[in-house]
């Protein structure tokens, strides 16, 4: 099976950064850290 991606296609890191679903956990993580800082 060919697992290589097209060399012209964007890197997987840029694909992750452009995925809206990625930012949902990131925002929740940041908010959770803020809550932790506030309560501790």
């Amino acid at each position: 099976m060919d697992v290589r991606r097209d060399s012209a296609s964007p890197s997987w890191i840029s694909l992750v950064l452009r995925d809206v679903q990625f930012w949902v956990p990131v925002v929740v993580l940041a908010a959770g850290l803020l809550v932790l800082r506030w309560i501790s």
Binding site: M1, P25, G32, L36, I39
Partner: protein
Amino acid sequence: MNATVAAEETRPASLDAAGDARRLRTLQTVGMICGLTAGAWLGAAEAPTKLVNSGLSPVVVSLAMVVGVFLARWSLPALIQGTSYIAADLRQAPHLIVWAILAGCLWAVANTLTIFAVRDVGLSIAFPLWNSNSLLGILWGILFFGELRGADWRRWAGVIGGALLMFGGATALAIASSAQSASVDALRGVAAALAAGVMWGTMYIPYRKAYLTGMNPLSFITFFTVGELGMMSVLAIAFSGGVAPLVHQLSAARHVLFWLLAGGVVWVVGDLFQQYAVKYAGITRGIPLSNTNQLWGLLWGVLVFGELRGGPHDVLVKVIVGSVVMALGAGVIALSSVSRAEHARWRGAALREGARYGVDAGYTEARAIGREPGTIEYRRTWIDWLVVAAASATLVGFAATAEAPQIAVHWKWATALAIVTLAVLAGCALALWRTTRFS
């Protein structure tokens, strides 16, 4: 167990070719059994931690457990599939490493928040608030991954109603088993518990994303735990006032660390089955079923550690009612099977994921039905045995210096529950192996 991927037994397949109704039903049943097994083992993981009454900082207790989790998360995959299999899996979808580490960070912060929540508002209020994570997980499953889309109203009612029943039962159990500690700072405690629930509920997004893409849960957890241990270490250092104070605390508690590490190892077994439950039954079914861990934790507490003995009548009534309601909710969810129409939505979401990240469609489709995409055999190497030996030696080292627990334990009940828990594990592992070869 044979670590090789038996090529002749794992025929390459697509959902169209092999995705008949019987195969989908079998996978879903296995997923639900995995969810229930996860509940048994996640509940049993509470037992070793009850043996520790050392006055340790809660964050240090959490860190010690995560170290045990880390050891198990690297050694179990090496033992079951081998690191060469894991490496090949990661080459197929390297972007999922980021998602796994992110999920581990979410878990660590959420777990720390629960410690503060219990401190500030007590278990009875805090637990139901963070247990709402399964409801949020269901929401994300519907919004992002097409779960319950195309399902008839009975399945919607079964999943949502079952989750609400479990939520209600969990609330009754938490109230009954709570020490009713006085509220120190209610607002902050409630905020901490809610934030933990939101974080755990959101953590299922990376889970589902990984398994729709086709990643093996054993591969996912090896990087999940990097985020988990990294974030937990940062938090423990921050809350302990630096590295030196943290090391001092850990050193002072070296005689009880084994029990915490053991708790972490048991927890990983439960979590691993939870991952398989999410993969084969989806978030909407797998997570609520694994939340039956509260029932098992209660069984260990009551039968083995004598909790609630001689307690008020109304407390015992709440325990019984809460347990029955929770079990009823789990039963309702287990009966809400995934229809073919809904499964087609799952497949659509999986194909979108694969297309977005350039993952081979054959890999995604084969893994979706619990099969291997190719005929390559992956064998264990010396690296696998080194990982397993190092983890085992670490555990044995801590066990050698461990002190006997200073708490009354009903050993007959402990033995009985351990046998039942092991039997559940054996049955589920056998079903998973026969159906998917731990794919």
